[in-house]
C-alpha cells in the first residue's frame, strides 16, 4: 500500500479533530494486518466508509463506547456525554468518518487526477467488534487524544487500468 494513499487520511483526521472537536490527535505507529497475522483491534463502535474510482476500498474508525461517547459529546458541544442516545453516537462517528474520507478524497483526487467517490457511512455497534477484510493488507493506524484512543483501518488499492 502506497504511503501516498495513506497520508491524506492522517492529515484529514488531524484537520477534522482540530477544527471541529478542538482536539489534538496524534497518530501512533501504524502496522499491517496480513493474511498471516489478520488480527485487528476490537471496538464497540465502528464506522465504515467505502471509496471507489481510481483508488478503491474502505476506511473505518473503531472506538470503545466510552471514547465514542466522549468524542461525539465534544463534537456536538454536549458537556455530558452520558446523555447522548446511541443513535446520536452512531450518527456522530458516522459523520467523523465522512469528514475524514471527504477530506482525504479531495487530496487523492487532485494527486491522481481522477474523481473518487465515497459511500454513505455505515455504523456498527456491539461488543468487541472486529472487521474482517476481504483482502489484505489492511493498514491499522492507532490515534491518541486526550479523550481516549481510537484506530483507523485503511484497505485501499489503486485500480489497474
Amino acid at each position: 500500500m502506497n504511503v501516498e494513499l495513506i497520508n491524506p487520511f492522517v492529515d484529514a483526521t488531524k484537520s477534522a479533530f482540530t477544527s471541529m472537536l478542538m482536539l489534538e490527535v496524534g497518530a501512533q505507529k501504524p502496522w499491517f494486518r496480513t493474511k498471516e497475522k489478520p488480527e485487528g483491534i476490537t471496538s464497540d463502535v465502528c464506522s465504515v466508509i467505502g471509496l471507489s474510482g481510481k483508488a478503491r476500498g474502505s476506511v473505518s474508525l473503531g472506538f470503545s463506547m466510552d471514547v465514542a461517547r466522549s468524542l461525539v459529546a465534544r463534537f456536538v458541544g454536549e458537556s455530558d456525554g452520558s446523555k447522548l442516545a446511541m443513535e446520536e453516537i452512531g450518527d456522530g462517528v458516522g459523520e467523523l468518518v465522512n469528514l475524514i474520507a471527504g477530506g482525504a478524497k479531495a487530496t487523492l483526487s487532485e494527486r491522481m487526477g481522477a474523481d473518487l467517490s465515497i459511500s454513505v457511512p455505515t455504523v456498527f455497534s456491539g461488543a468487541s467488534l472486529r472487521t474482517r477484510p476481504d483482502a489484505f493488507p489492511v493498514l491499522v493506524i492507532p490515534f491518541e487524544t486526550e479523550l481516549g484512543a481510537f484506530h483507523m483501518e485503511i484497505a485501499l488499492e489503486v485500480a489497474k487500468r
Binding site: 484537520s15 477534522a16 477544527s19 471541529m20 461525539v72 463534537f75 456536538v76 458541544g77 443513535e87 446520536e88 450518527d91 456522530g92 458516522g94 459523520e95 465522512n98 469528514l99 474520507a101 471527504g102 477530506g103 478524497k105 479531495a106 483526487s109 487532485e110 454513505v120
Partner: protein, 123 residues
C-alpha cells in the same frame, strides 16, 4: 430571521444550530435532504431568510436542491450557503454557478462558519 438547515447528518445539523445560536439566531428549521427541505419551506410559507445546505444527501442532493430553488422566481433572493465535504474547485464552481451564494468546506471551525454567515447577512 428564519434559517433552514439542510443536512442528512443530525450531528451536523446540531453543530450548525449551535453556531447559529451563538450568533443569536434561534429560529431554525431543519431538513434531512433536499426533498424534505422543500416540504419544510412550504410548511413555513417559504418565509426563509437563509439556507445552509449539504451536498451529498439521499432523495435530493444539495446541488439539485439549489437548482430547484433557483428555478422559482420568488425564491431566488434566498441566499444559500453550501456546507459540504466536497472541496474540489470544480465543485465550488458548480455550486456557485447553480446559484449558491457562498461555500464552506467541512470540516470547519465555528469561526469560519460564523464569518461566512455574517458576511451573507451583512450583504
Amino acid at each position: 430571521m428564519k434559517i433552514l438547515l439542510v443536512d442528512d447528518s443530525a450531528t451536523m445539523r446540531k453543530i450548525q444550530r449551535n453556531v447559529l445560536s451563538q450568533m443569536g439566531y434561534e429560529d431554525v428549521v431543519e431538513a434531512e435532504n433536499g426533498e424534505h427541505a422543500i416540504h419544510q419551506m412550504k410548511v413555513h410559507d417559504f418565509a426563509i431568510d437563509l439556507i445552509l445546505c449539504d451536498w451529498n444527501m439521499p432523495k435530493m442532493n444539495g446541488i439539485d436542491f439549489v437548482r430547484k430553488i433557483r428555478s422559482v422566481e420568488n425564491l431566488r433572493k434566498i441566499p444559500i450557503i453550501m456546507v459540504t465535504t466536497e472541496a474540489e474547485q470544480k465543485k465550488v464552481i458548480e455550486a456557485l454557478q447553480a446559484g449558491a451564494k457562498a461555500y464552506v468546506v467541512k470540516p470547519f471551525t465555528p469561526e469560519i462558519l460564523k464569518g461566512k454567515i455574517q458576511s451573507i447577512i451583512d450583504s
